[in-house]
Symmetry: C2
Subunit: 317 residues, 2 copies
């Protein structure tokens, strides 16, 4: 359950008087999400999501919120932050920074086919292109520095095979310079549960709270690592071709990017392996654990290492 | 027919490469509207309206377009302009200034009841409040100066009764100072065909190309003069009470505004009587006439004059 802060109808009505959103009709807490308190809110003007930020660094909130506004105004179907009468996106509620954004129609599809992947690839390319004119930047807080710090913390918890894999992967990744790759705003968490479909049509992209500036190719690798996997954690040819084909139709990749593709898929697997290890072994105090199994991304990483030749062929077809 | 400029699929596809709107699926010309060329456009990201501005003053376009963006970001369900990759809302197409905005669901309801009017009143108040933080202003190009100029042009075309009515109304209106009334951004054309409903729920407000800065009460009078009339062109008590009640629940009126109400209803009727007279007697060269019958607003004005006592009671209940 993720409603950390309870809001009463009276409190919400009073807060909404700062907005031009009409009259409150109903609202209810949302169980999903582990970082913030979220409510679905319906007013006479439409359907919205209210978020109270429980523990995110307040200094980085404007990056996320203005990014959603920027992308929405560029045709990316993402939540649009609503400004209050005095033109602020963030207004405190129950002592927490809070914002209200439009609620998108649709639902995640956890069994995507090639057509879903093609739509996601095109949308991700458009998101990257639209982000070029965004005026704020935020370094990736989960980049190589964070990998090494997190690896030191979790290493004692691992068996010797996992320790060897992690040590070797950090050494391998240190040989590569992400800085040579085209970069800009990335979503950084475009998993299946963060994309909505109405029927077969992509209707929304949500959860921009991991967005940052990094290599575009890294974002594509994160996305492929979730959308295009078979049950045995290898990459499915039909889905990855659909996703890479539609992505590169919109933003053609450079030769350097194509060469870096297997490295990037491994880097993306490493990042989520590490965060899941950390969440499992260092749960936050008082938290009902939502930790997901880290072994999933360990297997993805192992398969990527073993199948480097196959990964390299994604860009040959 | 209002497609003055024909756009081919190739031209539209080329134009859309400046945007992050995905792939063109289909488009078709829209017959409605007399000032601009409009197309419905569907891309892989959603449904939009493309507008080529045929004859509007280019200098005033940013006021309208940024206003829609401002109101949309404040929760008013209006078309949201889409920015191109280099952050521009206006990009030339076939040599005309052009923009693309989100297409709203819903359709006008030309037989509104009190509940529709209540929703419109609340939305108009929220539109006025949201406009307070808008940073651009545009004087009303159809204010008292334009009334007098237009009256001089159409006067020779009128019968003696209409001449007397027009002369007397201009004299009457000249006694009042609109400047004393609370003012801000107004829609200035919130007729029934510019509000969309999905079922019984207000889903959109469109056509901001008469928006400007003027007295808020004048905007409310324009709206009442279209939404709340009976077949004999008098004000229907149930609908006007619903609209004024919901408007003033959101933005309470001042004593000066309540006193000015009958004057304002007459001013709003005068403005549309004049523009319809002008459009009828001075059609633009080459134009298939869309002129509406001016006598409608002449009757509205005559009834308002005769029923001043009833109009004054709108604010007593």
């Amino acid at each position: 359950m993720s409603v950390y802060t309870t809001v009463t109808p009276e409190e919400l009505k009073a807060w909404l008087t700062q907005y031009s959103l009409g009259t409150l009709i109903e609202f209810q807490g949302i169980a999903a999400g582990i970082e913030n308190t979220n409510y679905f809110v319906t007013t006479s003007h439409g359907r919205y999501v209210l978020t109270l930020f429980e523990r995110m660094a307040e200094a980085s909130l404007p990056f996320y919120i203005h990014l959603m506004a920027h992308l929405a105004s560029h045709g990316i179907p993402c939540p649009q932050p609503i400004a209050s009468l005095d033109n602020r996106y963030l207004n405190p509620l129950k002592g927490k920074p809070a914002c209200i954004v439009t609620r998108l129609d649709g639902a995640p599809d956890m069994q995507p086919g090639p057509d879903h992947c093609a739509q996601v690839g095109e949308m991700l390319a458009d998101l990257h292109l639209a982000g070029k004119s965004y005026g704020i930047s935020l370094a990736n807080p989960r980049g190589p520095h964070w990998w090494r710090k997190t690896a030191r913390a979790v290493m004692p918890k691992l068996d010797s095979a996992a320790q060897a894999l992690l040590t070797e992967e950090l050494r391998f990744q240190a040989l590569y310079r992400f800085e040579d790759l085209p970069r800009g705003v990335i979503h950084a968490d475009l998993f299946r549960d963060n994309v909505l479909f109405e029927g077969a049509r992509l209707s929304g992209v949500i959860d921009f709270y991991f967005a940052c500036n990094d290599a575009w190719l890294y974002d594509l690798a994160i996305t492929v690592n979730d959308w295009c996997l078979t049950e045995d954690c290898t990459v499915d040819a039909a889905r990855v071709q659909a996703m890479l084909g539609s992505y590169s139709a919109r933003r053609p990749l450079t030769a350097i990017e194509k060469g870096a593709w297997p490295v990037m898929l491994r880097a993306a697997a490493l990042r989520f392996w590490l965060s899941r290890l950390y969440d499992l072994h260092f749960p936050r105090p008082g938290e009902v654990t939502h930790a997901k199994d880290p072994r999933h991304f360990q297997r993805v990483l192992e398969n990527h290492i073993r199948q480097e030749a196959e990964l390299r062929r994604h860009w040959v077809v």
